[in-house]
């Protein structure tokens, strides 16, 4: 029988998490509960965040902060602040899953058995978000790219980013509502005019498309350049070949959308 801890505040959550060793964190439960149900995970020590007070969206001037247990469906209301984030959130699974799954869970979820996961990662990468987390060496705030590269043993507290001047999102859609993101590209024009691009669904965690960013003024060339910067997963959702053919199209669409919103 697992030891289940239910912290009642963010500080209690951090203290009970400690260095995270041997601890399974449950936020929305959409990923962990099936693991338990199907016997793939037998947790010894569980931190249940339902009452930890880590949810909520804060807008302070141009800085937007999403608490770790903010539900995905909450993000739809941010459409006038960050169109890409709202569009991406609306594209995730179905209404009931969006009402339960969380921002923090989406950042921490591991690669699934059959497909990449972490639909929001690409948007947050393109937004150049920073992640505040706690773990063995205490609290730390770092770029999301850094965080994704060593997220084991970290408890996400919140994610922050600056409101962009424009953003766009384009995904390879399946008719079935309940799928993980096969492939999606986010484009952001920052307040200083910098263009950032990132893709979700390539392989593993999401990644920035630096080569494409350098050619952002030419959407077709940028699309072609993106391919050279990426590796493509061959999995249950799509073949590597299909992803490779589709990525330039999504890059081009996103850059054209950004151009139109200028």
């Amino acid at each position: 029988m697992a030891e289940v801890l239910i912290p009642a505040s963010p500080s209690e959550a951090v203290s009970l998490y400690g260095d995270g060793a041997g601890t399974t964190v449950i936020a929305g439960g959409t990923v962990v509960m099936p693991e338990i149900t199907y016997g793939r995970l037998t947790p010894g020590r569980v931190l249940l965040l339902s009452n930890a007070g880590l949810d909520g969206v804060t807008i302070d001037g141009t800085t937007i902060t999403l608490g770790a247990t903010t539900r995905i469906d909450t993000l739809a209301a941010l459409g006038d602040q960050v169109a890409a984030l709202a569009t991406c959130a609306d594209n995730i699974a179905d209404g009931e899953i969006r009402g339960q799954a969380t921002v923090g869970g989406n950042l921490c979820v591991s690669q699934g058995p059959e497909a990449p996961r972490g639909d929001l990662q690409g948007v947050l990468l393109a937004l150049d978000a920073t992640v505040r987390s706690a773990g063995a060496d205490g609290e730390r705030t770092e770029a999301i790219e850094e965080f994704l590269s060593h997220r084991a043993g970290r408890l996400v507290l919140d994610v922050s980013f600056e409101r962009p001047s424009a953003s766009a999102f384009s995904a390879l859609d399946y008719p079935h509502t309940h799928e993980y993101t096969v492939l999606a590209v986010t484009g952001v024009r920052a307040a200083d005019g910098t263009i950032r691009l990132a893709a979700t669904g390539l392989a593993g965690t999401a990644s920035r498309l630096h080569a494409a960013e350098a050619l952002a003024s030419d959407p077709t060339a940028a699309g072609a350049a993106a391919v050279g910067d990426c590796s493509f997963a061959d999995d249950a959702l799509a073949s590597a070949w299909y992803r490779e053919q589709t990525l330039p199209v999504l890059v081009r669409r996103v850059l054209n959308q950004l151009e139109e919103s200028a």
Partner: protein, 170 residues
């Protein structure tokens, strides 16, 4: 732990990580919530938690301690069916019935949220629910009829034929 299940205050004895689905079916004997895929993909286990439609298979019961849970049994009885139940009956919106409870709970949340009879909006609201008999057209028709505030003659189906043996109606 405590839940108010269909209006009744209930003490829960199951362990804290037990899914709400297992609490309902195994501890409380409420079997309308179905154990379909048990990984959030089919919608058959959907119930209302504090009025929001939610996958009971993905919900550790400790995460909703103190909440109000509504299942199909809490919508109405065979003698006094709720508008959603009446609409599903009248429109023959059930075939094998396995998805029906989840569909009705999602429909209930949609109607309580002021949902319209727009078919696209209904499809989006029921988007996480799979019907393997593919009775989607009649299900959507039923929800649209409730959204329009229609009343239902339960002696005949929407197609005008005599009602036979759905939901205990004769």
């Amino acid at each position: 732990m405590n839940l108010t299940v269909n209006g009744v205050d209930t003490t829960i004895e199951s362990g804290p990580l037990t899914s709400l689905l297992d609490v309902l079916r195994e501890e409380l004997g409420i079997t309308s919530a179905k154990a379909g895929c048990e990984q959030g993909g089919c919608g058959a286990c959907t119930v209302l938690v504090n009025g929001a439609s939610r996958r009971s298979c993905l919900t550790p019961v400790a995460s909703i301690d103190g909440a109000a849970v509504t299942t199909v049994e809490g919508l109405g009885s065979p003698e006094h069916m709720s508008p959603v139940q009446q609409a599903f009956t009248h429109h023959y919106a059930a075939q094998c019935g396995f998805c029906t409870s989840g569909m009705m709970m999602a429909a209930q949340a949609y109607i309580e949220g002021g949902g319209s009879d727009d078919h696209e909006a209904i499809q989006e609201a029921l988007g996480g629910h799979v019907c393997r008999c593919t009775g989607y057209v009649k299900i959507i028709d039923a929800v649209a009829a409730v959204a329009r505030g229609e009343s239902f003659d339960l002696s005949v189906t929407a197609a005008g034929t005599a009602m036979t043996n759905i939901g205990g109606m004769a």
